[in-house]
Symmetry: C2
Subunit: 310 residues, 2 copies
């Protein structure tokens, strides 16, 4: 699994760069698309990435919208023995990049043109060739954009059971014991435009009445393996500096199991709530499952899908 | 710009589906990768999507990991005149999909195999062919995974100037007046693993001392065009139900301009803080700019890039 240089010290990298194979990711925009594609593909090499048997490092170059800078990056890739994966909206720059990589023996891949061309053929319309930040583009941030921001703000305010009186305004409600990932899952879904509320389940504590008054088809129950939950809670208690008495109640196996059973009984009394097992699932995986169920119920069409209009 | 069926009613779609060109997006995993790629490519057709001159609808099918269900979807695509874009880790299923689309005259594109094959050639290692949810895969959620969750929780707690005593623990600090997008930007960056704090600037209100005591290289100032800010604030005041006196102070042009000038003076007194213009930028665009500056400063290497190790 990836180890980011994210918040850390960029220098950690320099001493090992020599041994790792490099992937240069280049975009005329943010670079998030090419990064997402490369990450998905790296999932196919986990057997070799694990324990850094064959270490890989990725390098993201964003906002590269002229040929000269692109050529510098390709030259650097040739020097470092890196491959180059890119999204460049301007077809002449993309083509120049392809030729330069070929000339200098750099493995390369254009991840934008094939899909742009396939969509162009399907729509019968030519692509603009204008990158995200081209001066000609009018990037009006529409209604949808403000709806997503509003959803994020709503979701933050409802976090951890705050404001149960607003549960009826949520699109999705998540219920589960502490450390089932309700908060990061809520935030992930909020960024996709859903107003999410989450309700913590705590042993022998009554749940807010509002939870049983909202449309039960929008409520999702989260559950997790007790051993995994205990491990996560122990780490959590340590990082929060809980003292031993609090900790034992929170992360002792006896308590963890009883609390999960307490939750489980509530779920049984509300059989419409789907119970989602989150053990060993990444947030984006649980999110995919929640949204699939949610849309299947909303659409009730023959073939389950999540649809959007552009 | 995209109009999601997200939190809305799935039925809104049915009455217009006939007129829109459909793109089926299929994955054996979550589908987020193929969705991201299609969204980026649709950016190349904004001239035609605008005002729904040529309406497009996307349909996401996730968790499709057997040939039979894939064939059903392709048959449905043929019926609806849709194109099919897919990520399927199992090469035999991907190949079967390709052939079926060809046979039935469905425009199709495999967005995973080309990048997987290019990386395989670069690393000299064969891809596993195992999808995200294959039983054989051990999906241990590593250190990095928990670090990201911790970053999200940290960021939510610091939102809107809460806990200034924790500013020194943040990787990134954002400062700006109300409605410059500090909260959604903080959350976006948190999901990438950064601990973010944001500090609101309010006219004639002293900023927390801690802001001037932290490493100034991690502080980013946000600014925005006053006319755009006024429009956003007016909408905000309306949705919060502010009464007229509060509203006038918050969204009157005089006040908006003075508050931006007040902020601007603070920024001038702290010249190390980069000032980022957020007008007409999407959150992910501002995030890309913040992270590029942040990493350039950290690495101080000849060629600006954001690097990660796998
Ligand atoms: N709204 C948009 N309009 C035009 N091009 C876009 C848009 N969004 C993304 N792109 C292009 O899609 C590719 C990926 O974008 P990004 O994820 O920002 O790197 C880049 O080549 C961008 O120029
Ligand atoms: N960690 C992973 N291990 C194996 N395959 C993955 C992983 N992450 C993503 N993939 C594959 O990459 C493609 C895109 O994933 P997704 O974004 O979940 O649709 C799918 O074909 C997944 O099976
Ligand atoms: Mg990109
Ligand atoms: Mg996908």
């Amino acid at each position: 699994s990836p180890s980011s240089e994210g918040g850390g010290d960029g220098d950690r990298l320099t001493d090992v760069r020599g041994s790792a194979k490099s992937v240069f990711m280049v975009s005329d925009g943010t670079g998030w698309t090419v990064e997402h594609s490369v990450n998905a593909a790296l999932g196919q090499f986990e057997h070799c990435l694990v324990d850094r048997v064959c270490p890989v490092s990725t390098h993201l170059f964003s906002g590269i919208d002229d040929v000269d800078r692109m050529m510098e990056i390709i030259a650097q890739a040739a020097k470092e023995g890196a491959m180059v994966v890119y999204t460049l909206a301007d077809p002449s720059i993309a083509e120049a990049a392809r030729q330069a990589c070929e000339l200098w023996g750099v493995t390369s891949l254009d991840v934008l043109s094939p899909i742009t061309e396939a969509i162009a053929a399907h729509l019968g319309v030519s692509p603009s060739g204008l990158p995200r930040w081209a001066p000609g583009r009018n990037s009006s941030l529409g209604e949808e954009y403000f709806r997503r921001i509003e959803a994020i703000e709503f979701t933050i305010k409802q976090d951890d059971g705050a404001l149960p009186q607003n549960l009826h305004k949520a699109d999705l409600v998540l219920a589960g014991v502490s450390r089932t990932g309700k908060t990061p899952l809520s935030i992930y879904l909020a960024q996709k435009g859903y107003r999410v509320a989450n309700v913590p389940i705590v042993m022998n504590v009554d749940l807010p009445k509002a939870l049983f008054e909202v449309d039960p088809e929008k409520v999702f129950a989260l559950t997790i393996n007790p051993i995994v939950l205990q491990t996560i809670r122990r780490a959590r208690a340590k990082s929060l500096g809980f003292d031993d008495t609090v900790r034992s109640n929170y992360s002792e196996m006896e308590y963890v199991k009883e609390e999960l059973e307490f939750a489980s009984k509530i779920f049984q009394q509300n059989p419409i709530w789907p119970v989602i097992e989150v053990t060993a699932k990444a947030i984006e995986e649980t999110a995919a499952i929640v949204l699939r169920l949610y849309h299947d119920r909303k659409n009730r069409c023959s073939m389950p899908r999540i649809s959007k209009r552009y």
